[in-house]
């Protein structure tokens, strides 16, 4: 095995820090794919393992990218794919269901993803509005959520609406 070790890495949204080695890392032969993307806590390594499970590791530095490419290639025979993230600041785009996540895309780039297993409640309010309520976005209940906790997001979905009545639909 490699002696490479990355410190100050977060598993999922946990607020505690570990290292990308040992107990939290899946067995080598299980890794099917790997992705690299910019998140709030620097860069995320995302690995897919068997049974469509995946693990997220936040906190990698930009400079770690090339080391990870080599490591994943040499020891796991897996290519590190870069997932493009948008920073345009727009609130319109497309939603895309990707396995257990709902992704919001702006100009074909991911703005954010929502884990559907954490949706506590959903609601269709009016003809064009969908709300998703979240509980426990952090993975473990014993760990206090770091930062501000998102509890609800609402989408305006014109596609839900049946044809507008003729002419003025100015209010509401």
């Amino acid at each position: 095995m490699s002696s490479t070790q990355f410190d100050n890495i977060y598993h999922g949204l946990d607020s505690s820090v570990g290292s990308e080695r040992g107990d939290r890392c899946p067995p080598a032969d299980d890794i099917k794919w790997a992705q690299w993307l910019r998140v709030a806590r620097q860069y995320q390594l995302r690995v897919g393992v068997k049974d469509h499970q995946k693990h997220h590791f936040d906190g990698f530095a930009r400079e770690d990218h090339d080391k990870l490419v080599t490591l994943l290639k040499n020891y796991f025979s897996v290519a590190l794919e870069t997932k493009e993230i948008t920073f345009r600041g727009w609130n319109w785009g497309d939603t895309d269901f990707q396995a257990n996540d709902l992704a919001f895309l702006v100009s074909d780039r991911v703005a954010f993803e929502l884990p559907l297993q954490n949706v506590a409640n959903s609601n269709i309010a009016g003809r064009t509005e969908v709300s998703l309520e979240f509980s426990g976005l952090t993975t473990s209940k014993s760990v206090k959520p770091q930062g501000d906790e998102m509890v609800e997001i609402r989408f305006h979905v014109p596609g839900v609406q049946t044809k507008l009545k003729s002419g003025s639909a100015s209010d509401n």
């Binding site: 999922g12 949204l13 910019r38 998140v39 709030a40 806590r41 620097q42 995320q44 997220h56 936040d58 993230i85 920073f87 345009r88 600041g89 727009w90 609130n91 319109w92 785009g93 497309d94 939603t95 919001f104 991911v110 703005a111 954010f112 993803e113 929502l114 884990p115 064009t128 509005e129 976005l137 770091q146 930062g147 501000d148 906790e149 998102m150 509890v151 609800e152 997001i153 609402r154 989408f155 305006h156 979905v157 014109p158 596609g159 639909a169 100015s170 209010d171 509401n172």
Partner: protein, 135 residues
């Protein structure tokens, strides 16, 4: 002004790329980047910028020990009587309409509400000036 110019969508953008993100996003807190005219929201570990032009207003309420902050966005069908202000490239897209956060730190949410409201006021003022100059 000429009517055919009014309907054009004026393009805006928060950041050109990931390197322009302020380091503050690491704290997974709502962050106001005044320089970029942008509010950055922590959504499921992502740092998601929203340009002030996309934001409508902010509301806040206290429930017990927790404070809730809700950011409302501009979406089609809201701008009654102000059709020329449509800030959208594609009105048929899916829009984020609002995002709500919870925190035990009510004072910080107070401050965020004020910062976002001030940023919106500044943006509105600039837009009015731009229109006056265009006339």
């Amino acid at each position: 002004g000429k009517k055919n110019e009014d309907k054009t969508w004026k393009k805006f953008q928060s950041y050109k790329g990931e390197l322009a993100l302020p380091p503050d996003v690491e704290r997974l807190r709502v962050f106001v980047d005044r320089k970029a005219q942008t509010v950055i929201l922590p959504i499921n570990g992502f740092a998601v910028p929203f340009h002030i032009n996309t934001i409508k207003n902010v509301s806040k309420n206290d429930e017990g020990d927790l404070t809730y902050l809700r950011i409302n966005f501009q979406t089609p069908g809201q701008l009654a009587g102000k059709k020329e202000d449509t800030p959208f490239e594609n009105p048929d897209a899916t829009f984020v309409r609002s995002v709500s956060f919870r925190s035990p730190d009510g004072a910080r949410f107070d401050n965020l509400q004020k910062q976002i409201t001030d940023l919106k006021k500044e943006a509105n003022k600039r837009e009015q000036q731009r229109k006056q100059l265009a006339d």
